[in-house]
Amino acid sequence: MPKITFVDHAGEERTIEATTGETVMETAIKNAIPGIDADCGGACACATCHVYVDVAFMPKVGQPLDMEQSMLDFAENVQDNSRLSCQISVSEDLDGLRVTTPESQH
């Protein structure tokens, strides 16, 4: 199972064994990772699961599609490596992925 490391805004790291096919957001929520709200449960309707993807993984994770990008524009402190974690599907390819969660989703 691919491992994902979540780094919170204070730098604390939590490494989780993720399930292939689930999303990075679901992995976070099920493991009580702080900093991700995901109010809509993954419907790409609320923009409250914003994360920063480790730049080294950006080629594998890829860029957001239009819908996600347009939602991301309204998140706080967006960077080039910002993604909505409900739109990143976990695969073996992403083993070792590191994402940083923001201090707040609002």
Partner: protein, 412 residues
């Protein structure tokens, strides 16, 4: 009220609001007992996908659960599933269960949800007549949803239309019967209703508005619908989606004030300072609209779960957002912010023909609500503008050469 580790909180209900209250209590540092009482057999789960991706078969059951079972163990939350609370004894501070047990409490959070309104006509109890509220409801209807069969849907609200979209995508024949003169009449404006009605027709759904269902036909299994004008329409199965009724009996029987929902203050507290009510079952102050109301939404369940947990723990009151909602039908995502009531102007940005547009609702020049179709920025910008009570000129909202981000930044 500030509670300590020796305290006991009983949460009645195990839906979205209950799950949130539970997580927020722990997040706010509550270390005492939490017991979650749910009458369904499943772990607390998300309901929105039941009429969308889950009904379509695109999502496994486990992915509906908010948390895996071990989360509750790790957080020392006692889950009492397949179990109902039958009364609250406020004098001795006990919640009585259908098993005969009485659970002592220091605080109770009522998250009892709502029940589908039943169709008040003959034949409503026939086989193959379904509601859609719980996972078990979906498990019952899904095997019957086969290509070529005719599904009659009674009620053109979110549930009815989302199910219609799924059923068409599964290859079923679909007819929707609606009593009002347009679809989604309770939740949106005529312009959005017209758009969604046309979309469904384009996808092959037959929609009949301004019709009364007089009865359901059949001996054992339903065979059709009888309309008020005596017309009969054959159907293999029926889905009834005509609204929900708040589950307030437990509170009413305990002498707590209710009126179309359990009455609560801004902290989700009922008239009894130890009893809170959250989610579909609660009637709350809607601070951005100057009235009380009941909201049937994920946003409300989450927000009230947080409000109750914060009040119990003596934390500052979390932000009360403007109400928001979403609906997925075909490849359309409808996102609504605010309540479109008593508006004096509707402004359309974008074009319905492009299936990407928004309807803004204004009152006295201020934005009070938006319905955004495949238009995330219009939705997210409006959420903020509605809360801030911003004045915006209709021409500005219509001007697609300005991004919503720019419009929001310039609004006062």
């Amino acid at each position: 009220m500030e509670l300590s580790a020796s305290n006991r909180i009983v949460i009645v209900g195990a839906g979205q609001a209950a799950a949130q209250a539970c997580a927020s209590l722990r997040q706010f540092g509550y270390a005492g007992d939490i017991t979650l009482i749910g009458d369904e057999p499943s772990l607390p789960y998300q309901r929105p996908p039941l009429s969308k991706a889950y009904m379509k078969g695109e999502l496994e059951r486990e992915r509906l659960y908010f948390k895996p079972e071990n989360w509750y163990r790790d957080q020392s939350v006692t889950l009492r599933l397949r179990c109902a609370a039958i009364s609250i004894d406020r004098a001795s501070r006990m919640v009585v269960l259908d098993t005969g047990e009485a659970l002592p409490y220091d605080a109770v959070i009522l998250a009892t949800g709502s029940s589908p309104r039943s169709l008040p006509v003959t034949g409503a109890d026939l086989k193959n007549v379904f509601d859609l509220r719980t996972l078990e409801d979906v498990e019952k209807i899904r095997p019957e949803m086969q290509a070529g069969r005719h599904l009659a849907i009674i009620g053109a609200g979110y549930i009815g239309l989302e199910a219609a979209a799924v059923a068409r995508q599964l290859g079923m024949d679909v007819t929707v019967f609606e009593m009002a003169d347009r679809v989604l009449a309770r939740v949106t404006s005529p312009v959005m209703s017209a758009f969604f009605e046309q979309e469904h027709q384009n996808h092959g759904v037959r929609i009949q508005t301004s019709v009364r269902v007089a009865g359901l036909l059949g001996d054992d299994v339903v065979r059709g619908v009888q309309l008020g004008d005596e017309t009969k329409v054959d159907a293999d199965l029926i889905l009834v989606g005509i609204g929900i009724i708040p589950n307030s009996d437990l509170a009413e029987d305990a002498g707590i004030a209710c009126s179309n929902g359990i009455l609560v203050d801004r902290d989700s507290r009922t008239q009894d300072p130890r009893i809170f009510a959250i989610g579909d079952c609660a009637r709350r102050p809607l601070v951005h609209y100057g009235r009380n109301g009941r909201l049937e939404s994920v946003h409300n369940a989450i927000e009230q779960g947080k409000l109750a947990a914060a009040a119990i723990m003596g934390k500052p009151r979390p932000v009360e957002d403007c109400p928001w909602f979403w609906s997925d039908q075909y490849d359309l995502k409808l996102q609504t912010a605010g309540l479109s009531e008593h508006y004096d102007a509707v402004v359309i940005r974008g074009s319905p023909q492009d299936r990407k547009f928004a309807a803004f609702y204004l009152r006295n020049g201020r934005l009070i609500a938006v319905d955004a179709v495949n238009s995330g920025p219009e939705f997210l910008a409006s959420k903020k503008l509605i809360v801030s009570g911003a004045f915006i000129a209709p021409e500005t909202l219509q001007d697609t050469t300005q991004s919503m981000k720019e419009i929001a930044a310039n609004a006062v």
